[in-house]
């Protein structure tokens, strides 16, 4: 009897069905609710900005990988450039000029990701680097917030006003604004009828995506929860000390990019620590930093910088906070 040609390989002979593409496209799916919320709040322009950012990221990655480096290690089909594009777009106002988001995308992928060797090798979150670059380069357009409203759903032009976002209200207004009771309510913050970046419109929409990733097992609950805990802890202390001058922690959790950052950027696989212990420290310290920047720093919003700063600590955290090894004592 003839023997078929046999494949000989080392064990294991089974592999999980989860690939890099599975993970990345799941993140894309998880970002859809926030995209819909952005569209409902800021109109068609938010969709266009997102599409342009995604296209610019994908084209940049393809160009660098195939034309400049001629490597096969970063297949664009894995979806990671799409995730970066979406996250970058979610971190800018809907009224941003399209050429600016293209520049941001090129920096995010070209500088923050591909220059370090492509997927898996970037020390900093590419979308946040892109955003930081844009904030430094185009400070006016990056802080010109469209007024939310469903009426202009399909209108190209946005009624852009300079400020305020819920966070800049409390930052600049301080005690007067808080006392006046003119801040947006928790419900508005939660479901999303507030000014800000495209992806910050609705905490609820972000949460839906986050819970989806949690259920798929692609993120651990500790990362977002400890980030939010750190943020709520520090803002809570300030609020307890002087409730007249500081917004309460719930406001801080729901306003701005806290939810988006906690669920989609603190949880970024490549730029966060490997052990769960490490993820806890990374996330909690990030949350504390975000609160400090918001309360005493120069910006009304501190989420992106808090995460970028913590990204730099990942190698140190990985070296010192290791998983508990079997057979060396210690509790489970």
């Amino acid at each position: 009897m003839t023997q078929p040609t046999l494949v000989v390989s080392l064990p294991p002979h089974e592999a999980s069905r989860v690939s890099v593409a599975t993970i990345m496209w799941s993140v894309v799916i998880a970002l859809i609710p926030a995209l819909i919320a952005g569209f409902l709040t800021f109109g068609i322009r938010s969709l266009v900005v997102t599409l342009v950012a995604v296209a610019a990221c994908v084209v940049t990655e393809h160009f660098v990988a195939r034309v400049l480096l001629r490597v096969e290690t970063t297949p664009v089909s894995d979806g990671s450039a799409v995730v970066t594009g979406m996250l970058l777009a979610f971190n800018v106002p809907a009224g941003i000029p399209l050429w600016q988001i293209i520049v941001g995308s090129v920096v995010a992928i070209g500088v923050a990701k591909m220059a370090f060797g492509g997927i898996g090798n970037n020390p900093f979150n590419p979308a946040l680097i892109g955003r930081a670059f844009m904030l430094a380069s185009f400070p006016v357009d990056m802080t010109t917030w469209p007024t939310p409203g469903a009426a202009r759903l399909f209108s190209w032009s946005v009624d852009a006003v300079t400020g305020p976002t819920p966070l800049s209200l409390v930052k600049e207004g301080g005690a007067d604004v808080i006392a006046s009771g003119s801040l947006p309510g928790y419900w508005d913050l939660f479901v999303g009828t507030i000014g800000g970046c495209i992806g910050e419109a609705s905490a609820l929409a972000v949460l839906i995506g986050g819970v989806f990733l949690l259920a798929r097992g692609f993120i651990v609950w500790q990362a977002p929860i400890f980030y939010l805990l750190g943020l709520a802890g520090v803002t809570g202390v300030f609020w307890l000390v002087d409730p007249a001058a500081y917004a309460d922690p719930l406001y801080h959790l729901l306003a701005g990019g806290a939810m988006l950052g906690a669920w989609f950027m603190v949880t970024d696989m490549t730029t966060s620590p490997m052990s769960t212990k490490g993820k806890v420290v990374f996330a909690f310290a990030g949350g504390v930093l975000a609160a400090v920047i918001r309360l005493v720093g120069g910006f009304p919003e501190g989420v992106s910088y808090s995460i970028l700063i913590m990204n730099a600590f990942v190698p140190v955290i990985d070296r010192h906070l290791k998983p508990r090894k079997f057979g060396y004592g210690g509790r489970s």
């Binding site: 080392l10 490997m274 769960t276 079997f326 057979g327």
Partner: protein, 450 residues
């Protein structure tokens, strides 16, 4: 919902694919030739006692254990010794094997009780049992093939309080132990009592994963009917399904909460672990005088019309098993010897069944090849999966870089080679391959140091 016990760190859930779980054990049509390897166990090969042309009876000793860690080998069937040849084993190494032309008439060695009646009266004492185990050539049938008599010879000054019987069978596809628990529960219980007596313990736990509720129920009722026992208490414990629960250290932790320290043995936490099929082999050896000459092998695969659980004489070639299921199914591109997580991919079908071979699995083309290797995205799935709490991604990098001191410091020798890391990797990185390389290099460096 009650929470079933399991091990504390890591673990994965590969698809179970227990296709043959409902298939009763059946006898294999007698093969024409047997290739009985003299090194079916960990330790020194046995020394052949027969010469070319000799007539052997079934159960006759044909190769004697040489040295302390070694095991006797018996003729699985009666016949004539054709030659002593070298036959490739599952790893592809050629090993000496006694080739037997099987006779038409099967005559057993005198003193072996081949009747199916249960012999439940135990007369042997502890040392007598260990001696009978050694005589019968019993080795760990779960796959490790460590000589059982050595394992149950507890060194002076050490004490054991619990015998653990491993009925987990956490490897996907395999159902040999499952069927044995259903079909030979009384023998398993007597075998367990013998092992308890050999160790002098009054507590035994049979650990079974919850995906075999029929086996758990059947064992429990059989135990109730057969007991109480003078040796002590035998419990059946249902465990939460998680791979690699059948790993010795994982199973001890799941059942007793004790953690075997790094580099130590189960003995160091007062436990000895034995597989259900080993316990049944012990029953046969002690109560029936019947040596380890056959085992249950699951022949299975998604492409196979009918997977089967066969009772197979040791030394039967994989080819004979393939013939018994009607040939290799179309589209098969890999044949795995053992379980899919830890088994070996065969290069040919002349490989004989040994005391530790629990399965032959046909893998379809669509699943036979590894996926394209991509860059590590630091997803930490390997870290989460590792049941020993290691960091496979880091070990891979360190081995690649040849940083051997760090490889050792990161605990490479704690790796139990379960394959959970490679299984989990979304980038198909060869994590376990490199970790094994790191283990080999670390061992070599340790030897060189001492």
């Amino acid at each position: 919902m009650s929470r079933l016990p399991t091990f504390a760190i890591g673990g994965i859930h590969p698809p179970e694919n227990k296709i043959t779980a409902e298939r009763p054990i059946e006898a294999l049509p007698p093969p024409a030739q047997l290739f009985v390897s003299v090194s079916q166990h960990i330790g020194k090969p046995a020394e052949p006692l027969v010469e070319r042309g000799a007539a052997v009876r079934a159960g006759q000793l044909i190769a004697r254990a040489s040295g302390f860690v070694s095991a006797n080998v018996h003729a699985p069937m009666a016949g004539t010794v054709k030659k002593i040849d070298s036959v490739p084993d599952a790893s592809g190494y050629r090993r000496p094997a006694i080739v037997i032309d099987v006779a038409g008439d099967q005559e057993w060695e005198s003193g072996i009780d081949t009747s199916p009646e249960l012999a439940a009266d135990i007369t042997a004492d502890g040392p007598g049992i260990v001696e009978a185990i050694a005589t019968g050539g019993i080795v760990g049938a779960g796959g490790a093939t460590f000589p059982t008599a050595v394992k149950f010879s507890i060194p002076e000054g050490r004490s054991v309080d619990t015998l653990i019987v491993n009925g987990v069978e956490c490897e996907p596809y395999l159902t040999a132990d499952h069927r044995l628990m259903l079909e030979e529960a009384p023998q398993l219980i007597v075998g367990t009592r013998l092992l308890m007596r050999a160790l002098g313990v009054n507590r035994a736990i049979v650990g079974v994963e919850n995906n075999k509720p029929d086996a758990i129920a059947h064992l429990s009722t059989t135990l109730e009917e057969a007991g109480p026992f003078p040796e002590g208490r035998i419990e059946v414990a249902a465990l939460k399904v998680k791979y690699p629960q059948g790993g010795e250290k994982q199973l001890i932790q799941a059942l007793t909460g004790r953690e075997v320290p790094s580099g130590k043995l189960p003995l160091d936490v007062g436990c000895v672990v034995s597989n259900v099929s080993t316990a049944i082999a012990v029953y046969h050896a002690v109560q029936k005088g019947r040596p380890f000459v056959e085992r249950i092998v699951t022949v299975t695969g998604k492409g196979l019309r009918e997977g089967r659980n066969f009772r197979v004489p040791i030394g039967t070639s994989v080819q004979a098993l393939i013939d018994a299921v009607g040939g290799v199914p179309d589209g098969t591109a890999k044949v795995v010897f053992g379980g899919p997580m830890t088994g070996k991919a065969l290069t040919g079908f002349t490989v004989p069944i040994t005391k530790g071979s629990g399965g032959v699995i046909f893998v379809d083309e669509s699943e036979a090849n590894r996926g394209h290797v991509r860059g590590c995205i630091r997803c930490s799935r390997c870290v989460t999966a590792c049941p020993m709490g290691l960091e496979p991604y880091l070990l891979e990098k360190l081995v690649n870089a040849g940083m051997w001191d760090q490889v050792e410091r990161e605990g490479v020798l704690d790796c139990i080679e379960c394959g959970a890391c490679s299984f989990s990797c979304p980038s198909n990185r060869p994590l376990l391959d490199l970790i094994r390389l790191g283990k080999a290099e670390t061992m070599a460096r340790r030897r060189a140091r001492s």
